[in-house]
Every structure is written in C-alpha cells, then in structure tokens.
C-alpha cells in the first residue's frame, strides 16, 4: 500500500498551516507574557501601598462589611475540621461560617456536631434563590459566640448547596470557599478591601488559589510553604502560578476579568441573589456565574467592577495522581466550552466592552482551541517525521523554539512571583519549580491537552457529566 497520498496530504497540511501554527503558538505565549506584565503592574501597585493599606484598622473597624463564608462539603470528613477552624479563626471583625453538608455519606456532619457541640435550630433556609435539595436540618453551636451555622441537606451538588448557603447567609458579602481549602489569616480582610473601598461598584472579587500539597499545616494554618512531593502536583504549582495568579491579575488590571475561582470568590450578596445564584446544571458554575453577573450588569447599563486580589491565598489540595487530574481537567474544559457557547452572543459584541471584545475572544481562541491545536501537532509532527515529510533538524528546532518560549514565559512568571510574594522560601523549592517548568512541556501539557479535548468532546456528544471523587489526604495537622 502506498503512503504517497498520506505524504502528499501532510505536505499540503504543513504548507498551509505550518506558519500559522507557529504564529498561534507565538501569540498565545505572548499573550501570557502580556498578562504577566499587566500583573506585575498590579502587584507593584499593591505592594507599594500595602505598608499603609490600613489592614489593621480594617480588622478593627465596625464599618468593615460583614462576610458570610460558605463552605459546601461533600464527604470531607478528613479535612472539614481544619477547614472550619481556619475560617473561624480568620482575622475579621464580623464574619460567620455557613457549612452546607451536601448529603455526605461519611462523618462530615458528625465530626462538626461533636467538635462544636451543635444542636438543631429552627432557623429557616428559604430564600430568593431556588434550591433543589431537601433540607434535613440546621445546626448551630450552643455557644452562640461561635458564628457557625451548619445546614444539612440531601445531596444535590455543590452549586445547589452554595445557593442554599446564600439563602441562609446573613451578611452583605458572601465568600465561597471549598471545604478542602485553608485561607490565610488575613485573607478575608484583603479580599474584601475592594468592597470597603468602593461599595457601590465592586460586585465580586477573587483571591489566589495555591497548592497545599506538601505544605505544613498546624491548627488549620499553613505554617510552612513547601513544594509538593508528587511531580504531578509540582507541575500544577507552576500552572497555578502562571494562570491563576498572574493570568487573573493581568485580566483584572485590564478590567476584563471573567473568571473567579469557585474555591475563593467573594460576592455582594444582593448581586448574587439578583443574578439568581449558581446554575446547578452548569459544570463550569463559577465561570458561568461571573459571566452572568457581567451580562446582567452590562445589560442594565450599571457601573461595576470585578476585581482580582493577588495577595490573599486559599490553599487547596490539588490532584496528585494523573487519574484525578484527568477528571478535573476534562470537567474544567467541558465547563469552559459550555459557558463560552452559552454566552456566545456576548463575544465580539461591543455592547459588552472589553469582556465581549477582548476577554471572550481570547478564551475562545486560546483557552478553548489550544488543546486541539496541540493534539494535532502531537499527531502530525511525528507522522511527518516518520514519512520523511519534515526536515528533522528543522522540526526539532521548531519545537524547541515553541517550548523554550513557553518556558521563558514561565520564567518571567517566576521572577514576578519572586519579587512580589515569594511564597516558596526554600532554595530546594525554587529548584523544584524550575524543573517542574521544564517537565511541564514534556508530556504534561500534551496529556492535559488530550484530557481537555476529551472533556470538550464529551460535552459535544452530550455525555453525562460526572464530577468524580477527589481522594483527600487531609492536611495532616498537628
């Protein structure tokens, strides 16, 4: 059987697309670089002003807006006590903790009841946001100086649980955190500051997510920041640094932030209620909520801001096995596609300003399509090499340029992190990060590209979405 037709097709393919693919790769990495530059402007401003930011004054002020911290929990028995304790102990003048137990089959509720001496309450949960899961009970501590409410309900998913939490929340601001997360002691103070500074306009803020794997946790506090042991988790540290920290800070600086992590997002409660809460049917519910808020505010012609605050950290356990990571990335990309498709009319629509004209096109072109192009490259380049269509040294040089540029972008991110927040103090950890940055481009990126495509395909073929389970190791606190 002759391979000439395949060879000819490949030649044509490379002729037509080769330079465009390189241009695409150049653009995507350059856009990250631009975001890093914008982020460094954002960080510089933040750090120059932090000596007189008045955090201590805000911690004491009775006018600092109250915050309800919502913790949806499903089978989080291993981590729930550390998580709740860390939130209760946060430095903030007025906050309550609302844990929503989403029908856990483990001892999540029992551990809370026992530890905090909870008793059943007659407090109602009905509110403006419709919820699906049936209520089983509301629990409060006998010691009413502990600002804790535990809502026990039937299992109906994270979004529905958060919606119930919003209904129960009694403060003006609501922050959503994951039960497997640990917040820095001043996290609430810092992430709420934009609301205190501009209460009329700021509607949502988001903080940073960092990997807790490998960190030392004592008494619900991360006391020693360290790189994770597993290679998979280490590479995610690099990813999170580049995308979650620098990427979002860059978008926020450009006033075009469209994504706040569900693991650490703060909202004005009235805006959240007006928007209708989280969509329980959406896989990318955090992204979808922020997009809905953008649409609602823009359609209403209202001035508003969505802000990313780079300093307050939510430490969370990231997947440290490929199986769990794969499930997560499939879900994320599926969520990305569904939200982008659902809000496609905002894309390239000048009515939506930078959101419609810059952020959404970016996400379509670079976030959504990147894995497709990556996988095509992974298939056609080796094929081309095998069939002698590609000049080997040229191909190697081509690939090296592409991946070294990606590494360069990560090095820029590392430098900005070192100048600004420098959370990883040990030299060994800096070395790990650099090695992980290299390893990211050799297999990991390609693997995540395949997973992301699988998630996209699952959505296109209307396969039922499954969250899967994340096996928690716990924080192992003393």
């Amino acid at each position: 059987m002759t391979l000439d037709p395949v060879r000819d097709a490949l030649v044509t393919f490379f002729d037509v697309t080769g330079s465009w693919l390189l241009l695409y790769f150049f653009l995507i990495n350059s856009s990250y670089l631009l975001l890093i530059v914008l982020a460094s402007v954002n960080f510089g401003r933040h750090l120059r002003r932090s000596p007189f930011a008045g955090t201590t004054a805000a911690a004491r002020s009775p006018l600092t807006p109250g915050v309800s911290v919502l913790l949806p929990a499903y089978n989080e028995a291993n981590v729930i006590l550390d998580s709740v304790r860390s939130v209760l102990d946060l430095r903030y003048p007025d906050h309550e903790v609302v844990v929503v137990n989403d029908g856990s089959s483990d001892a999540t509720l029992e551990r809370l009841v026992e530890t905090y001496g909870l008793v059943r309450s007659t407090r109602g949960v009905e509110g403006k946001i419709p919820v699906r899961g049936d209520l089983r009970g509301v629990w409060v501590p006998t010691d009413d100086s502990i600002p804790l409410v535990v809502v026990d309900k039937e299992n109906s998913g994270r979004s529905d649980s958060l919606n119930m939490g919003v209904n129960v929340a009694s403060r003006d601001l609501v922050v959503m955190v994951d039960a497997d997360s640990i917040l820095d002691p001043d996290a609430l103070l810092v992430v709420s500051k934009p609301f205190a500074d501009d209460p009329q306009n700021v509607v949502a803020t988001g903080g940073v997510i960092r990997a807790a794997n490998g960190c030392r946790v004592i008494g619900g506090r991360v006391v020693d920041v360290r790189m994770p042991r597993s290679a998979v988790a280490r590479i995610q540290v690099v990813e999170y640094l580049r995308s979650f920290l620098l990427g979002r800070a860059g978008w926020s600086q450009a006033n075009a932030l469209i994504l706040i992590s569900g693991a650490f997002g703060m909202f004005r409660r009235d805006v959240l209620v007006e928007a209708g809460g989280l969509d329980p049917d959406s896989i990318g519910e955090d992204f979808e909520l922020v997009m809905r808020i953008h649409k609602m505010m823009k359609d209403g012609g209202r001035d508003y801001r969505v802000v990313f605050v780079a300093e307050p950290v939510s430490w969370t356990e990231v997947p440290d096995t490929l199986a769990v990571l794969g499930r997560q990335r499939r879900r994320w990309h599926r969520g990305l596609w569904e939200v982008l498709w659902g809000y496609r009319r905002m894309t390239f629509n000048p009515r939506y300003g930078r959101i419609g004209m810059v952020a959404l096109p970016y996400y379509w072109l670079f976030e959504l399509c990147a894995p497709l192009l990556e996988v095509i490259g992974v298939i056609v380049v080796p094929l081309g090499l095998l069939l002698g269509v590609i000049n080997v040294p040229f191909a190697i040089a081509f690939l090296l340029v592409a991946y070294v540029y990606a590494f360069f972008v990560t090095c820029a991110a590392l430098l900005v992190e070192e100048v600004s927040f420098h959370r990883y103090a040990r030299w060994r950890d800096l070395g790990s990060i650099v090695l992980a940055s290299v390893a990211e481009n050799v297999g990991y990126r390609q693997l995540t590209a395949v997973w992301r495509l699988q998630g996209w395909w699952a959505s296109l073929t209307r396969k039922k979405a499954v969250w899967g389970t994340m096996t928690r190791a716990g924080f192992g606190s003393s």
């Binding site: 007189f52 006018l63 509110g127 340029v401 590494f407």
Partner: protein, 333 residues
C-alpha cells in the same frame, strides 16, 4: 505566510535560551538580595528590640528610664528603632504610648514626617501621613488636613485615616467633606476615622453628624447614619428614623433601618413596620424586618406576622424565625 529559515530559528532559540537564563539568574539575584537585606535588617532589629520591649513591658516608674535608653539609640540605628516603635503603636496605649510619642518627637520623627508630606512621590506623602497619624500629635494636624485635598486618592485616604487617629473632633466636618463626589476616599475609612474621634468625645461630633444626615450627598448621609449607630449618638436617633422612610436613596434607607437596631426603641417600631410595606424597596424591607426581629420585643415581633405570607422568601424566613411569639394581635404596619 511566515517564512522561517534555519538561521531565524537558531537565532530565536539562542535569544530565548539567553533570556531564560537571564530571568532565572535575576530570580536568584532577587532572592539572594532579599536574604541579605533581611539578615541585615534582623541584625539591626535585634539590637533595638530589647530596648523597645523593655518600654512596652515597663511598670510605672520603669517607663521613663526605659524610654531614655530608646531615646539614646545612636543615629545609625535610629531608623530601625523608629520603625519598630511605630509598628508597636497599634497595640500600645496610655502612659507607655505617651512616653514613646515624646521620644519620637524629641528625635524629630514628626518633623521629618510633616516635611515629607510635601514630597513629590505620592507613596512618600502617604507614608508620611501614616506616620503622622500613628504619632497622633496635634502638631501634625495641619499637614494632614492639607493632604485631604491631595491629588492622589491613596494620600487622601491615608490622610483621612490619620485624622481619625489624631482624634480631633473639630475635623469631623472636614472628614465628611472628603466624601464629596470625585474624592474617591472610601466611606468606610472616613466612617472609621469619625468613630475613632467620637469614641473619645461623642458630644463634640453631634453637630457634624446632624448636618451630615441632611447632606445632599448620599454617601455622606450613609456614613453619618453608620457612625451615629456605632457611637450610639442618641440625639441623632430621630433624624436617623426619618431617613428610614424619607431618604431618596434605598442604600441610606437600608442603613438607617439597620441603625435603628442600636438607636431605636419602642418609638422606632412603627417606622420600621412601615418600612416593611410591599411598596418599599426589597433591601429596605429586609433590613427593617431584620431589625424588628433583632429588637425582639413582642410589639416588634408582632409586626412580622403579616410577612409570613409575603411574596419575598427572605421576609417569610425572618417571620418564621420570629416563631411562636408572633400573634395576630397588633399585626400589620
């Protein structure tokens, strides 16, 4: 279409590799530099820390001798000692604080800070305002008042906070003036500053608050309501009550309804009940209902009874929380 030559690729790769190495070296240099600075700073702090701690833990007649040791710190060490003392001011009160303030005054801290309030850099002016506020001496007042009109919003914000720390009630009207449209000084900063002043002398604040409650600017009224409630300025209670039903701004009406939880009494119940009327803004209705619930008196709770069948689920929930104490007697606004 792009035309790539081998040469271009090799040069690009070489430049990229060089840039990567440069960035990594820069990262290492930043870390090393920070480590060196930190060790140097710690060495300096180690020399002044015991002296300052001795002041902070001194008993009555030990304060003066301990302060003398701090005052005698040699010039090269003084910036470190000054920073350490200022950092401790958040947790220091009374005679010890007064003694340390005198040390700072004698060593020229306030004079230097006042001079720095005219610096070209906004960051320097803001830091100077912060220091003046921390020192809390009346001699710094004029410079801080001037900074309320500074071109930089950060400087204006720090100046507002510093005025609160200075504690002079005569600046209350100036502080409220810092909330004018276009100023962008956060209302929470001004409010907190007023609360700080009012904690020392609430009576002196009353005229300014009464005027602010009738101000044409929404943010000023909002702040005045919040401050009046926090300081329990009872003479303003009736004015606040009027805001619940008659203020043109829903945000002010909400704040006023909440404020009545602290300022109100039996007289406020009919006002709050009226504010739960179906024609009122939903946020105002909710705030009024919550205040009635928090008041907890039978009369207050009775006015929640009609809300059990309200279309608003938040109000139904609050009415249910009032529980079996609700009766049908006296129900209705």
């Amino acid at each position: 279409m792009l035309v790539l030559s081998w040469t271009v690729l090799v040069w690009t790769l070489t430049v990229l590799c060089a840039l990567c190495v440069a960035l990594l070296l820069a990262t290492v240099a930043v870390r090393v530099g920070r480590g060196v600075l930190a060790r140097r700073r710690e060495a300096l702090v180690a020399q002044v820390r015991p002296l300052v701690l001795e002041v902070l833990t001194a008993e009555d007649d030990e304060v003066a001798p301990a302060c003398e040791k701090v005052a005698a710190v040699p010039e090269p060490l003084w910036p470190t000692a000054e920073r350490y003392v200022l950092a401790a001011f958040d947790s220091v009160r009374g005679e010890v604080r007064d003694a340390l303030v005198q040390v700072l005054l004698d060593r020229g801290t306030l004079a230097r800070a006042v001079a720095a309030t005219t610096a070209r850099s906004a960051v320097r002016r803001a830091r100077a305002a912060e220091v003046v506020g921390l020192v809390g001496h009346v001699d710094g007042r004029r410079s801080i008042v001037r900074l309320l009109s500074d071109p930089s919003v950060e400087v204006r914000t720090v100046a507002a906070r510093a005025l609160g720390q200075l504690g002079d009630p005569h600046v209350a009207a100036l502080l409220l003036g810092a909330l004018r449209p276009g100023s962008d000084v956060p209302a929470s900063i001004v409010g907190t500053a007023l609360i700080g002043i009012g904690e020392a002398d609430t009576t002196a604040l009353e005229p300014a608050l009464e005027g602010a409650l009738a101000d044409r600017d929404e943010i000023v009224r909002l702040t005045a309501v919040a401050v009046a409630a926090e300081l329990l300025v009872l003479p303003t209670a009736r004015y606040v009550g009027e805001r619940v039903l008659h203020d043109p701004s829903p945000a002010v009406r909400v704040q006023a309804a909440r404020a009545l939880a602290r300022l109100g009494g039996a007289w406020a119940v009919p006002t709050l009940a009226s504010a739960t009327a179906p024609t009122e803004d939903p946020g105002v209705r909710l705030a009024a209902a919550r205040t009635l619930l928090d008041m907890g008196t039978p009369t207050a709770l009775d006015h929640l009874a009609p809300l059990r069948d309200d279309l608003d689920p938040d109000l139904r929930r609050l009415a249910l929380e009032a529980g079996p104490t609700l009766t049908t007697e006296g129900a209705g606004p």
